[in-house]
């Protein structure tokens, strides 16, 4: 394979994530309403929102510095960078895949969070700082879960490169049903809920500022900044979903050769896998109510225990 092929394929992966991220959030939004017995907006609504926001003027707070202007770019940057490192469409590594493993990807997702949290304080609105403080609380409680999941993964696969990890769960097939694998999936699923601010941790549709966690950071953004923030958080969701379905859960359906047909099949397969995950997420989201703020520590504590059990299962399995 030539450098040009791997480079081009990685651009395709990037295009898949960037291009379809709003669609996935549209599908999830529509289903969420459907389950509640409402008709819900069109699945294309996020694209219309983005177009509207990009056409609007950017209203900034008086006290804001360049941080508040830069943060939306950082929020978009970090999931895009992670996309370059993980298997979105192909099961062979692509250009630059060595630039970071799963642990590094965890740190990279922190770039956007760091700047957005700073920017929330930068606007000078009390709600922003409140959201910043609370998001950091969820953030630091989630981090040990991630590292223990990575320990479990490296006890099984002896590697943290996503392209190598994905091979391990299905070779031999017995690995797929091993307790370690199942528990890792549960823990990572709980982590996705916390990291993307969904119920029961946070309610992305809430309208009451005092009860908000993530959303209150972006209250004072508008126009193109807000559009970038929305797009960025949709991309982050897709990236986490891709890690879940392609690396940890079901590494099937990916292109094994760089031919057009295989790639087209992979795009469809990955799309379906993510949509199925979204369906599960939406069901979970609509069946729980929001936890009280300090109960989130217990939720993530639970995730931590699951991850530790997965790790012990991984150590003890032959």
């Amino acid at each position: 394979m030539s450098i040009a092929t791997t480079f081009g394929l990685n651009l395709l992966q990037l295009a898949f994530v960037v291009g379809l991220a709003p669609l996935f959030s549209g599908i999830a939004g529509r289903w969420r309403e459907n389950i509640q017995g409402k008709r819900g907006p069109s699945i294309w609504q996020p694209y219309r929102d983005l177009r509207k926001l990009f056409a609007k003027e950017d209203r900034r707070s008086e006290s804001a510095t360049w941080i508040a202007r830069f943060a939306p770019y950082a929020v978009c940057l970090s999931p895009m960078l992670v996309t370059l490192l993980i298997p979105v469409l192909t099961d062979f590594p692509l250009f630059g895949a060595f630039a970071g493993d799963m642990l590094a990807a965890g740190f990279i997702l922190g770039i956007g969070g760091f700047f957005l949290t700073l920017a929330a304080v930068d606007t000078g609105v009390p709600y922003g700082a409140m959201g910043a403080s609370r998001t950091r609380m969820v953030g630091f409680l989630a981090e040990p879960v991630l590292i223990v999941i990575l320990f479990a993964v490296s006890f099984v696969a002896n590697s943290t490169i996503p392209y190598i990890v994905q091979q391990q769960w299905v070779h031999p097939p017995a690995h797929f049903f091993s307790p370690a694998h199942v528990l890792v999936l549960v823990a990572f699923f709980m982590l996705i809920i916390a990291e993307t601010g969904r119920l029961p941790v946070d309610n992305p549709l809430g309208h009451f500022e005092l009860a908000m966690i993530e959303e209150s950071r972006v209250l004072d953004f508008s126009g193109r900044s807000f559009a970038l923030l929305k797009w960025g958080s949709a991309m982050k969701m897709v990236v986490l979903a891709v890690v879940f379905v392609n690396v940890l859960f079901a590494p099937w359906g990916l292109a094994t050769t760089p031919v057009l047909q295989a790639l087209a099949q992979a795009i469809i397969a990955v799309f379906i896998k993510i949509v199925v995950l979204l369906a599960v997420l939406v069901v979970v989201e609509t069946s729980f109510s929001k936890l009280r703020l300090f109960r989130i520590a217990e939720y993530l504590g639970g995730a931590f225990v699951v991850a530790v059990t997965a790790m012990i299962a991984a150590v003890l399995s032959p």
Binding site: F54, P93, N158
Partner: protein, 649 residues
């Protein structure tokens, strides 16, 4: 270099690669700090003698380099004592303020205790040889009994641990580091803590390298605990410089834990993994030197401009002090392990080293490393919280006091250059990890020398590489060999190779990450520029219908870190005093005064009990000072009689 000293014999100073690595770190930190001092010291000029300061500063640097080059116990201890005295003198530079003098004396007392323990460790190590030269001690280390070795490990670990600022004897650190002038704090956190690490490694890796198991267990445990307690107290602290001091405890904790992981792998005879651990530790130590010095200088600039270090009273300084704000941001990004800066690179390597427990047999090592890894991950995430809070509450938002509002300008250009140089060091060490790894790898002593590069840097860029052809071909198509023949060095990628099932165990290249980040940023920026509405307006902040938003209505640093206080209450175990009586007015309770105080865990569990016990013993012994005179005469007579009898017989 050899000096002959009266009475003590000759002092040998021999630069080794190991010592030179530490000394160069010291000098890289010291030069920008000196530049900064030109501007910073002006505020003291009318009250204190700058000449004495300069003398102490230079003496300290000379003593530090002498410690790193000392080749026998006597010259080491002399240089060590000069270093300790000079650093205490610099902490007490503002000697008219009793608080600063007390902090310096506490530091001196604890340092001397540590030095005594370290001296004992040296003497035990030298006991079979009757020579105090390091080379002779190392050559005869095999003759030591296992009990002696245990004592050497314990004494050297806790003795040098005092200087390194790890638990349990680090109560001096959060007192002394913030009280010193900022340029001295930068040296204390940036260089002096490294001396403790150097001492530990000198004894346990260079002089008595045989038994690494105990050192490994101790270092991983104590290092991890220091890291987590350090960052917890840093996160809730309101004082900008004390926060940085606590965070130094955290970082040295991470360093010591990484070294401990290395020692554990060494005791399991996995030299490649041991090199990873020691390399990660030393690299993180160097990175910590850069960003912590930078952050202390930034904090000093803030202190000089706003005359307060309390984050609750700061805010909004980024507009008046853009250079300080930018430099402090780079330091904060680095210490919060945000890619592609240096803190990320070395912390990533530390965690990867712990993940390598997958490759070794003992279950205890695996579970222990998972626990350490989880705690270090929590530490890393809390560090993000801590530095988001510090930067945001100091430089962003609305100013929360008049002092902060009236800040108009930077300290001076020289100070800006000093900070910018350190910021550049943070960026370079992060963006070019392969070169740093090579530097660190060549500094590792003994059996580990050169192994780090072997374990971490596949020679993608050299023309004659020993890599398997298929491996090289695969990575060629991924772009890892781009620039072969043009870019110096072995590789730009940190990559640990595995077996057939896992050809790559872990890999990272912050060089590439930085390039990708830049390219993507430019792409997004251009796209937004082309397609989005460019118009922007400035608006007042909505304040619930009130105008303007008062500073009291905004979030404070204390409020920001409150979730940490609530969740980790069991660790902080705060003393709460509530006063309701005064505030009762005509049967209505109108206000409650509640004071909450978190006492540092080392104070609570180590220093205070120790002080109480010492005082009680002294009180008990002091009783014999107040007896009857006849009694003392009788004692003297009896003693004389016994002595005479003993001699006559």
């Amino acid at each position: 270099m050899t000096w002959s000293l009266p009475v003590l014999g000759t002092a040998h100073f021999v630069p080794t690669p190991f010592g030179v690595f530490f000394s160069s770190l010291a000098l890289i930190v010291a030069v920008p700090t000196a530049l900064y001092s030109i501007a910073y010291l002006r505020r003291y000029a009318h009250e204190y003698s700058i000449g004495w300061f300069a003398f102490g500063y230079v003496l300290l640097l000379v003593a530090i380099v002498a410690v790193f080059c000392a080749a026998d116990v006597v010259s080491f201890m002399i240089a060590w004592e000069v270093m300790t005295l000079a650093s205490c003198a610099l902490v007490a530079f503002e000697w008219r303020e009793s608080r600063k003098v007390r902090a310096a004396l506490l530091m001196l007392a604890m340092s001397e205790l540590g030095a005594l323990a370290a001296l004992l460790a040296f003497l035990l190590a030298a006991s079979p040889t009757h020579s105090l030269a390091f080379s002779t001690i190392a050559a005869h280390a095999a003759a030591l009994s296992s009990t002696t070795r245990t004592w050497i490990v314990l004494l050297s670990f806790f003795g040098f641990g005092v200087k390194a600022g790890i638990l349990p004897f680090n109560a001096w650190l959060p007192r002394a580091h913030p009280e010193a002038p900022a340029n001295v704090s930068a040296l204390l956190s940036g260089i002096i803590l490294n001396l403790g690490v150097y001492g530990m490694l000198l004894v346990n890796l260079v002089l008595v390298p045989q038994d690494a198991t105990l050192f490994g267990i101790l270092a991983v445990t104590v290092g991890t605990l220091s890291a987590i307690t350090g960052i917890l107290y840093a996160t809730i602290d309101d004082d900008l410089k004390r926060m940085l001091a606590f965070s130094s405890i955290e970082n040295i904790g991470i360093v010591v834990a990484a070294l401990g992981a290395g020692a554990t792998f060494l005791s399991l005879h996995r030299l490649d993994l041991a090199a990873l651990g020691f390399g990660a530790g030393l690299w993180h130590m160097g990175n910590h030197s850069f960003y912590k010095a930078l952050l202390f200088l930034g904090a000093g600039a803030v202190d000089a401009a706003a005359a307060t270090r309390r984050m609750n009273l700061l805010g909004g300084l980024a507009k008046a002090m853009p250079v300080t704000a930018a430099c402090f941001l780079i330091g904060a990004l680095a210490i919060a392990a945000i890619p592609p800066l240096n803190g990320f690179a070395s912390e990533w390597l530390t965690l990867e080293t712990l993940l390598r427990s997958a490759e070794v047999g003992p279950l205890a090592v695996k579970l222990g490393f998972v626990l350490a890894g989880a705690l270090l991950a929590l530490t890393a995430a809390l560090a993000v919280t801590c530095f988001v809070k510090s930067y945001a509450m100091t430089f962003l938002g609305a100013p929360r006091s008049e002092a902060a509002q009236e800040v108009r300008r930077e300290l001076s250009a020289a100070a800006g250059i000093g900070m910018a140089l350190l910021a550049a060091a943070c960026v370079l060490s992060g963006v070019f990890p392969a070169y740093m790894v090579q530097l660190v790898g060549s500094a590792l002593p003994g059996v580990l020398h050169g192994r780090l590069a072997q374990a971490l840097l596949p020679p993608f860029l050299s023309t004659h590489s020993n890599l398997p052809a298929s491996f090289l071909r695969d990575f060629h198509s991924l772009g890892a060999t781009i620039g072969a023949g043009l870019i110096p060095g072995r590789s730009l990628v940190l990559l640990h190779r595995g077996g057939t099932a896992n050809p790559v165990v872990f890999a990272m290249s912050s060089t590439y990450l930085a390039c990708f980040l830049l390219v993507l940023l430019v792409l997004i920026y251009v796209a937004v520029r082309l397609f989005a509405q460019r118009h922007a307006v400035r608006e007042h902040v909505w304040a619930g219908g009130l105008h303007p938003l008062l500073p009291e209505m905004t979030y404070t640093a204390t409020g920001f870190s409150n979730p940490v206080r609530v969740i980790f209450q069991a660790v902080f175990n705060p003393r709460t005093t509530e006063n309701t009586r005064e505030a009762v007015h005509e049967n209505f309770r109108i206000a409650i005064t509640r004071r909450r105080e978190e006492v540092f865990v080392a104070d609570r569990l180590a220093t205070t009990p120790l002080a109480v016990a010492t005082r009680a013993t002294a009180g008990f012994l002091a009783r014999m000072h107040h007896g009857r005179l006849e009694g003392y005469v009788l004692y003297a007579l009896c003693a004389l009689l016994i002595a005479l009898l003993a001699i006559v017989r």
